[in-house]
């Protein structure tokens, strides 16, 4: 890992390495995703702790380091190195026009359920996933609930007066 002076941004395996409240965040462009993840496995990040997604539809103006083009979706992967006791977060921008990304199942079989959840809740498809079906919603459900253009589904409630 190179930590240069403030003029040159830090990089790891060719991707921009940022810092979020003291936590290391790696911004990986989608074409370099699989190759970078393989290198991170070799670096000692044995466990993929969490894989999720964020829909930035209503917050497109978020701060990203220079050189990272914002897209609607972001796939966020949290990795843990048991041997080095370190964590690393990987953020990949996924566009709305092509909401798909490679699956990490072959590297980390534990991402099977996590990727299914991201597919179910956001509609992001994971190429190479052995069983990409909905996991939390019923099979015939329409829509992807955690997207920002999907309403919460509140029904109006009329509160009657408290009982005496």
């Amino acid at each position: 890992m190179s930590t240069e002076a403030s003029t040159t941004p830090a990089t790891l395996h060719g991707c921009l390495l940022g810092d979020s409240r003291g936590q290391a965040v790696l911004f990986v462009p989608k074409p370099a995703y699989m190759a970078t993840m393989k290198k991170l496995v070799d670096d000692g990040f044995e466990m993929c702790v969490d894989l999720t997604a964020v829909d930035f539809l209503t917050h497109a103006s978020r701060t990203l380091p220079d050189g990272v083009a914002p897209e609607r979706f972001e796939v966020v992967v949290n990795l843990l190195s048991l041997s080095k006791r370190e964590r690393l977060r990987v953020r990949v921008q996924v566009s709305e026009s092509d909401p798909s990304i490679e699956s990490l199942f072959d590297l980390y079989p534990g991402t099977e359920a996590m990727e299914r959840e991201a597919f179910d809740m956001f509609g992001i498809s994971f190429a190479g996933h052995p069983d990409l079906t909905r996991i939390l919603m019923p099979e015939d459900w329409q829509g992807h609930p955690l997207r920002k253009d999907y309403a919460q589904g509140r029904i109006p409630v009329q509160f009657k007066g408290a009982a005496s």
């Binding site: 979020s20 409240r21 003291g22 936590q23 965040v25 044995e46 466990m47 993929c48 702790v49 969490d50 999720t52 964020v54 829909d55 917050h59 978020r62 701060t63 966020v76 949290n78 048991l82 006791r85 964590r87 977060r89 980390y108 079989p109 534990g110 991402t111 099977e112 359920a113 996590m114 959840e117 809740m121 052995p130 069983d131 079906t133 909905r134 996991i135 939390l136 919603m137 019923p138 099979e139 015939d140 609930p145 955690l146 919460q152 589904g153």
Partner: protein, 450 residues
């Protein structure tokens, strides 16, 4: 009639057919999918995997039977649905189908302020609610930048409650594990012990469960004056009772027969699947976030990390039993170390004023009003904070956009990832052991489905 057809006929009327989420018969699956469900994917070398394409469907398919367990079932620890493919009594494949308790908590979390978020998050893992609140509060505090300024008393109170919650959760594990194996009296004993801890929680937090007590900035209220006596009475009562459980279960031949060698998982499998907590520790790896990536003041306390050797259900049972003892040891150390002081940070932005001051000061009134209606704004950013819950690593990922509500709130639930280990553990075992395996993973469906 093929299993799929009969399944459709019976369940079509009630709409319980979940289509592609269910276990499909072998003829419909590719070889890679079969091997994934069988659980052998992890143990294969690349050369073997290359041969998969040539594996044809098992010729004995007409002798296998797909049965459905759950979602309403006495032993599935909630609404977990399992589809098992059996050949006689042997389980060949197993597929868990979840989502029966999906509550949309992550979506709800986006419309609740950071102060209200605890009420939502606490209901995910309802057996250790204080741990959920703790991880959410820690993530919020990290985003706010106040994670280093939480008063000492608040931190120690959090640790005390977190360890007591670990004890009550593991006691419930002992109770339900016992009942699932058949030792029904254990169910009653475990609940009897747990009740004492719950009454202490009620005295401190006001509620027996789903407390919403650990909030960003500290805790919601101070400990009552006689808390030390209550904790001491719990600590005095438990060791003998745990000794009774050792006699009733641990050293008993039937218990050992039922649990040893059942649900074996190797260390490589556990790491590959992301399993943490007692499952990972039962394979021999001493990974406990309280020891290896300490948070709060766990690095100042002495306690052991319990590790198993065989990765089977008996190891997981023994680990949890001894973790109760270790938690008692930690609580004993905490008893002496809780300092006096504030129980929440005095930062006006985050903490509402005390109730008495609202009558006296206009600012306090406005301030209280703003915090409880609009909420406090959290600067933009994203964090992931993880702690050790009784089930493994629970993490909270919050992405904030500068508004009073989280933009995205995601909880990495340990049971959601641990349930993926079920097919691997069950394969080749008897269907009668399926219940023992599920019980040894100790899943909580509230956090699996969120």
């Amino acid at each position: 009639m093929t299993p799929r057809e009969s399944d459709t006929i019976i369940s079509a009327a009630a709409g319980t057919n979940e289509g592609n989420q269910e276990l499909r018969s072998r003829s419909e699956l590719t070889a890679k999918e079969v091997m994934r469900e069988v659980g052998a994917v992890l143990r294969m070398s690349e050369a073997d995997a290359a041969l998969l394409a040539e594996v044809e469907a098992d010729p004995g398919e007409d002798q296998t039977m797909i049965i459905n367990m759950g979602p309403q079932h006495p032993s599935t620890h909630g609404v977990l649905r399992l589809m098992l493919e059996l050949k006689g009594e042997t389980v060949l494949r197993c597929k868990p189908i979840i989502g029966y308790l999906h509550t949309g908590m992550e979506k709800t979390g986006e419309s609740l302020t950071f102060m209200q978020g605890g009420t939502n998050v606490t209901r995910m893992d309802y057996l250790s609610p204080l741990n959920n609140e703790l991880v959410f509060s820690m993530a919020t505090e990290k985003l706010l930048g106040i994670d280093g300024d939480i008063p000492e008393r608040a931190v120690w109170i959090r640790m005390l409650l977190s360890e007591l919650n670990r004890m009550s959760s593991h006691l419930l594990f002992m109770a339900s594990n016992g009942m699932d194996i058949g030792a029904v009296s254990m169910m009653l004993y475990g609940w009897r012990e747990r009740e004492v801890v719950l009454r202490f929680f009620q005295k401190v937090t006001g509620l027996r469960m789903n407390h919403n007590f650990i909030r960003p900035g500290g805790v919601a209220a101070d400990l009552p004056a006689d808390w030390r006596d209550d904790v001491m009475s719990i600590l005095d009562m438990l060791p003998d009772r745990l000794g009774e459980y050792d006699v009733l279960m641990t050293n008993q031949p039937i218990w050992r027969e039922r649990l040893q060698g059942v649900g074996v998982i190797t260390q490589a499998e556990a790491i590959a699947l992301g399993a943490t907590g007692p499952i990972l520790r039962s394979t021999g790896l001493a990974w406990d976030l309280r020891r290896d990536m300490p948070y709060m003041h766990y690095d100042e306390l002495e306690f052991d990390v319990i590790v198993g050797s065989y990765g089977d259900a008996f190891d997981r049972y023994a680990i949890r039993l001894n973790e109760i003892r270790e938690s008692m040891r930690i609580v004993r150390q905490i008893l002496d170390r809780v300092p006096s002081g504030d129980y929440r940070i005095q930062d006006k932005k985050v903490t509402p004023p005390p109730r008495a001051r609202i009558d006296e000061s206009m600012e306090a009134l406005i301030h209280h009003f703003k915090i409880f209606t609009e909420g406090f704004k959290v600067p933009e950013g994203e964090v992931y904070v993880a702690i050790e819950s009784p089930r493994g690593e629970i993490g909270c990922y919050i992405a904030s956009d500068g508004s009073p509500t989280p933009y995205r709130m995601h909880v990495r639930a340990p049971s959601f990832v641990n349930v993926q280990a079920l097919p691997h553990m069950m394969r080749g075992g008897l269907v009668a052991d399926a219940v023992a395996v599920i019980s040894s993973i100790d899943p909580v469906l509230g956090e699996v489905d969120r």
